[in-house]
C-alpha cells in the first residue's frame, strides 16, 4: 500500500494541511518554555523490576517465539538483513 504513488501523493498533501494550519496560528504567539514532559518529576533513577522466575521467563520465551514471523531450525528468531547493511 505504501508504494502506490497516487496514494502516497494524496496522503502527503493531506498530511501537510495541519502543519500549514499550525504555522498560521503560531505566528503571533509569544515565546514560551518548551513543555516536553507534563511532569517535572521524571523518575530516571527508578529501580528495575524484580527478576522473574525461571518458569515465567521460559513461558515468556515460548509465547514470544509463537508470534515471531520467521524462525530457523533451532527455533531462533530469523530476521531479514537490514537494507542499510548490504
Amino acid at each position: 500500500m505504501w508504494l502506490t504513488e497516487n496514494r502516497e501523493e494524496k496522503i502527503k498533501k493531506s498530511a501537510e494541511e495541519i502543519i500549514d494550519k499550525f504555522s498560521e496560528i503560531e505566528k503571533n504567539l509569544p515565546t514560551e518554555e518548551k513543555t516536553y514532559y507534563l511532569l517535572s518529576s521524571l523518575n530516571v533513577l527508578r529501580s528495575d523490576k524484580k527478576e522473574s522466575s525461571e518458569e515465567k521467563r521460559k513461558s515468556f520465551r515460548k509465547n514470544f517465539l509463537r508470534i515471531m514471523p520467521e524462525k530457523d531450525d533451532e527455533g531462533n528468531l530469523k530476521v531479514e538483513v537490514a537494507e542499510w547493511s548490504e
Binding site: 493531506s14 498530511a15 501537510e16 495541519i18 521524571l42 508470534i67
Partner: protein, 457 residues
C-alpha cells in the same frame, strides 16, 4: 439499555443473588447474539468463565473479594492482556498475542474484575469516528447509522449496549470522552501520570492516558480507583500511591465554582449548545456559581496537538518493522495511520529549523498556562465535548473535518488535566455529553459534578 447500576450489580454478586458465572455467561451469550451488528468486540476471553467460578467459590466460602468482583470488563485492543490479541485494530498486529499483562490489567485482576475480551477501536487509535479499524467500523448502539466516535469506539459501544459492565479505553486527544459523548455513557480521562501506561501500545507518549468507560459515574470512579496509582518502574508518574473517590462524590454543589468560556460557544454547533446551556442552568440551579473564564487560545490546541502527536507517533511506530512480530506498518496500514507517519517524518526532517515540533512545545506551554489560570479561578470548567453532531457511518469527510471533532478535547491532553463526560441530553435522537475538566489530580471535583448531572432529567 444498560439496566441496574454498577454498584447494585456488585452488591447482587457479593450477596450471592447473582452468581459471577451466570452473569459472565449471560454477557458472553449477549456478545455472541448481538455484537455482530455492533462490532464492539474483536475477541472473547475464553478464560472468563473459569475466573468467574473462582470468584463464586470465594463468595461461597465467605472469603473477601475484590472491588470489582464478578464484573465483566472490555479492554481496548491497544492494552496488553496476556494470551489475548492486542492488534490495535490493525493488520500490522493481526497475529500479535500479548506475552504479558499491562499494569492496569494486573490491578483489575487483583480486584477480581473479569476480562471479557478485546474491544474494537480506530486503527492504532488514529481516528475520532470508530471507522478506521482493519476489522470494520463499530456501530453506535445509541444512535443508529451514526458513528460511535473514537478512538475507543469498541469500549464505548460495548458499554452503551450493555455487552460489558465497564471498559478500559485510552485517551490521547479525546478518545475516551468523544465516544462516551456520542454513545450516551460516562467516560473519564484521568490526569496524565495518574494511571500507569506500562503495557499500553503507545500512540503519543506525552498525551496517552488509560481511563474507564462506564454506564454510570460510580462505575467510572470505582474502576479509576482500581487502576490509578504510581507504578515504580515507570518514568513519568505522579507520586500518588492510591486514590479514593467513592466517598467524595456526594453531589453537593454548594460553594462550587464552575467556569464556562465564550470560546466553547464560538467553536460549537448551536444545536449542541442548547443542550449544554440547559445543563449549565441545571447546575446553577443546584447551587453552583457560574463564572466566565478567558481561554484566548483554545482553538489553537488542536493543530498544536497534531503537530506534537505526529512526531511522537512516527517515533513510536518505528518498532513495527515486521522483524520480531507482525507486519511492517507502512506496508499494511490504513490511510489515517499512514498520514500521521508521513506527517511525523516530514516534521522530523524539517526540525533543524525548530520550526514545528519545538515551536508546538512552546504553544503547549501557553495553552497549559491559560487552562491552569482558568482553573485557579474556578473548581472545574464545563462545556461541550465535541463541537459537532456525529456524521453518518461511511460518509466521506476530509481529514480536516475529522480532526475538527478534537477541538474541545485536545486542550486537556496538552495541559495534562483530567476530564470527564456525562450524558447531558439528546438532539435529534443523538446523545450529547457534557465535558467537565478539572485541575491536575482533581478527579474528585470532576466526578462530583458528573454525579450531580445524573440527577438531571
Amino acid at each position: 439499555m444498560v439496566g441496574i447500576s454498577t454498584l447494585e450489580k456488585l452488591k447482587s454478586i457479593r450477596r450471592g443473588d447473582l452468581t459471577a458465572v451466570d452473569h459472565i455467561e449471560e454477557k458472553i451469550d449477549e456478545i455472541k447474539d448481538r455484537d455482530e451488528g455492533i462490532n464492539s468486540f474483536l475477541e472473547i476471553n475464553q478464560d472468563s468463565i473459569e475466573k468467574a467460578k473462582e470468584i463464586d467459590r470465594k463468595i461461597e466460602k465467605g472469603d473477601e473479594v475484590g472491588k470489582l468482583a464478578g464484573l465483566g470488563i472490555g479492554i481496548k485492543s491497544n492494552i496488553n492482556v496476556k494470551g489475548l490479541k492486542a492488534t490495535c485494530a490493525s493488520k500490522t498486529l493481526e497475529n500479535y498475542t500479548s506475552t504479558y499483562n499491562a499494569v492496569v490489567i494486573e490491578r483489575i485482576k487483583q480486584e477480581d474484575g473479569i476480562i471479557l475480551g478485546m474491544n474494537n477501536m480506530d486503527e492504532f487509535a488514529c481516528g475520532a469516528s470508530g471507522e478506521t479499524s482493519y476489522f470494520g467500523p463499530t456501530k453506535n448502539p445509541a444512535a443508529a447509522g451514526k458513528i460511535p466516535g473514537g478512538s475507543s469506539s469498541g469500549p464505548a459501544a460495548a458499554v452503551a449496549s450493555g455487552l460489558c459492565d465497564l471498559a478500559l479505553g485510552s485517551d490521547t486527544g479525546g478518545s475516551i470522552r468523544n465516544p462516551a459523548s456520542h454513545c450516551g455513557i460516562v467516560g473519564l480521562k484521568p490526569t496524565y501520570g495518574l494511571v500507569p501506561r506500562e503495557g499500553l501500545i503507545d500512540l503519543s507518549m506525552s498525551f496517552d492516558q488509560i481511563g474507564p468507560l462506564s454506564p454510570d459515574v460510580e462505575g467510572a470512579a470505582l474502576l479509576t480507583e482500581v487502576i490509578a496509582g504510581k507504578n515504580n518502574t515507570e518514568g513519568i508518574m505522579h507520586d500518588v500511591k492510591s486514590v479514593e473517590y467513592m466517598d467524595k462524590i456526594n453531589p453537593d454543589l454548594e460553594e462550587m465554582k464552575i467556569g464556562i468560556s465564550p470560546k466553547f460557544r464560538e467553536l460549537t454547533d448551536s444545536k449542541i449548545m442548547e443542550v449544554i446551556d440547559d445543563s449549565i442552568d441545571f447546575l446553577e440551579g443546584e447551587g453552583a456559581e457560574i463564572v466566565n473564564v478567558d481561554l484566548p487560545n483554545l482553538e489553537k490546541a488542536m493543530p498544536t496537538y497534531y503537530t506534537i502527536l505526529s512526531v511522537e507517533f512516527f517515533s513510536a511506530t518505528r518498532k513495527f518493522d515486521g522483524r520480531k512480530y507482525g507486519h511492517k506498518i507502512e506496508d499494511v496500514c490504513g490511510d489515517e495511520v499512514l498520514r500521521r507517519i508521513v506527517r511525523g517524518k516530514h516534521i522530523s526532517q524539517k526540525e533543524f529549523k525548530n520550526q514545528y515540533y519545538q515551536r508546538a512545545l512552546q504553544v503547549r506551554t501557553l495553552i497549559k498556562k491559560e487552562l491552569e489560570k482558568a482553573l485557579n479561578e474556578t473548581d472545574v470548567l464545563v462545556g461541550p465535548t465535541v463541537p459537532k453532531l456525529p456524521h453518518d457511518i461511511g460518509e466521506d469527510i476530509t481529514p480536516s473535518d475529522m480532526y475538527a471533532y478534537d477541538y474541545l478535547t485536545t486542550p486537556a491532553n496538552l495541559g495534562g488535566l483530567c476530564g470527564g463526560v456525562v450524558p447531558a441530553g439528546e438532539k435529534n435522537g443523538i446523545p450529547i455529553g457534557l465535558q467537565i475538566q478539572g485541575s491536575t489530580l482533581d478527579e474528585a471535583s470532576v466526578l462530583r459534578v458528573m454525579k450531580k448531572m445524573e440527577e438531571k432529567e
